[in-house]
Symmetry: C2
Subunit: 339 residues, 2 copies
């Protein structure tokens, strides 16, 4: 097996990818060449313009994580980061103040914004940024592709926390505002990926899926990460068409997410918060869904039969990504499931 | 005397202004009300776009200096500054790497750039930034006006340091490149304030000159700071028309500048590097120039007669701005000269 494509969001996907690459390069994933190509199709629907800068949280989390620049404690942003520009923006009274724009991170956004302003598509900008981060560390075998070059922005319809006494009003806010400012703690009613109907898959995205030997859906958010990638017209068709097996790893263990806020967002779209519920939501390729196989955590071993009944191969293995070896074992189990 | 207008560049002008305000507010400048308004018309011809950000070095030096945010050692940029974004931009291989864009400073440029992109003129943007820096410290009595809202950029024609063996070639570089990258140490042939013919004085600039009780030309660079302000069509006419006396303070002491690189630039435009030489260059208002009076340092007492012969009142007093009191004394002497 020479090429693997992963549909990734931010922290969960990036952590999985780091373990996958660790395993592949060290020959720990049976059936995969140690120099296999790994292509990441990353969610861009939580991108946001802040202070005139184009910020792409998932692209950057993957890039910094694989390139060794991530802050390992936070899981996002740069290591050895400072926050002086952010402090000063707040001192000017400029909104928003809730987004953590670090000083080192700003350089990435400056380069990206300037290239976009010069007319380069996001895919070309991402490739340029990755020449600093990925090429020196990983060579040319890892490619990071935005799901689309078009602007797609997930908004969440929430109960406005500033509603007056005359009743709760709803408003739509950018996903980042829901996620970071409100910590997903306000009541949400709908998730709307604005612009997605008119988006086209970015250069190489369809080919990365149709020409892969294996497609993996990592434990990223099924709604606002993987869900938006799948929502780009043409991506589901590519997944339906590929001869590669498609295998997913549950980010839900027990009745909650491992990290992030998948629980809240699954509730918004009416999907049961469980490994089996998410498997049914993705669905089996044989029945018009996107997966051939699904790994659940050993905690959820009892749900294997239910997932199997939905037409998916399923196995319960440890899914806590406690270190790169554990994650590599997950990747090996995923591949073994659909081989 | 209730209103003073100062035509300022960066460090020299800002230092003078700080001492002037110190003196005025404490009643140390005889004849000037302690709550007199001080209007600064600042040079914008060394403004530069860097990494997609609009940087206005002279406006910011005045703003930070008067607002207490300046780094007192360097004389420019922010106190307690860090340089992480700059490091990262260099790590991306993005040019230019020779300009010192500090992390705190970047916030100012982000706010400015975003407001300019939103359609506000530089004068409105400057007023907004000054509401943070000047109003809390100095009240409403100090106003900072860009000389123009139009884009003017001083370029310097230099011997290209990268000329090949077949001979020295000339090229035009942005003033900041000459100043910071080359430290004014390459041979320069001409100073060209690009766009100045089509520039108009910024809002309030002409009135600040014609309605002032006193106009001061501080020890700023006569070529690339004061020279460009005077070069904006309408400014010389305002100076000719004002009923206020116009008095200048020499930034040349002995045969060299006190700070900066005025010597090099005076040589480029063929002006003798001396207090008297600069006085003759500015010229007496009575003969079509811009000054009524000119202070020279005690070192240059011998040149008082020559300056007087050029039609200017002149006196030799200590011109080293060693502290705010010394600078306030200079301001008092300047006013005394032309009262």
């Amino acid at each position: 097996m020479r090429s693997i494509t992963v549909l990734s969001g931010g922290v969960g996907g990036a952590t999985f990818l780091r373990g996958l690459l660790h395993g592949v390069r060290r020959g720990l994933v049976p059936g995969v060449d140690s120099d296999a190509e790994v292509t990441v199709v990353a969610n861009t629907a939580d991108d946001i313009w802040l202070h005139g800068l184009k910020v792409c949280p998932d692209l950057d989390t993957v890039m910094y994580t694989l390139g060794g620049g991530i802050d390992p404690e936070r899981g996002w942003g740069r290591t050895a980061e400072t926050w002086h520009a952010k402090e000063e923006l707040a001192a000017y009274g400029v909104e928003p103040t809730w987004f953590g724009l670090g000083d080192r991170d700003i350089a990435t956004h400056l380069v990206r914004t300037q290239m976009l302003d010069a007319g380069y598509p996001l895919s070309a900008v991402t490739a340029a940024l990755c020449r600093r981060w990925l090429t020196p560390v990983l060579g040319d075998g890892v490619e990071l592709l935005p799901m689309t070059d078009e602007r797609v922005e997930t908004h969440v319809v929430i109960d406005d926390p500033e509603s007056g006494p005359e009743g709760v009003e709803r408003k739509a806010v950018h996903f980042q505002e829901y996620w970071i400012r409100h910590q997903a703690s306000v009541t949400a009613h709908a998730v709307v990926p604005i612009g997605i109907e008119d988006a086209r898959p970015g250069p190489g995205v369809v080919e990365a899926i149709t020409e892969a030997d294996l497609v993996i859906v990592p434990p990223s958010n099924p709604v606002v990460s993987v869900g938006t990638i799948l929502g780009v017209p043409g991506v589901r068709e590519a997944i339906a068409a590929t001869s590669a097996p498609v295998v997913g790893v549950s980010g839900i263990i027990g009745q909650d997410h491992v990290r992030g806020m998948a629980r809240q967002l699954l509730e918004v779209i009416g999907v049961e918060v469980s490994a089996a519920g998410v498997a049914e939501h993705y669905g089996a390729r044989a029945y018009g869904g996107v997966l051939d196989g699904w790994l659940v955590d050993t905690t959820d071993a009892a749900s294997v039969d239910r997932v199997t009944a939905a037409g998916l191969r399923c196995r319960a293995v440890p899914l806590w990504m406690i270190d790169h070896d554990a994650t590599a074992d997950m990747a090996a189990a995923a591949l073994d499931l659909v081989r």
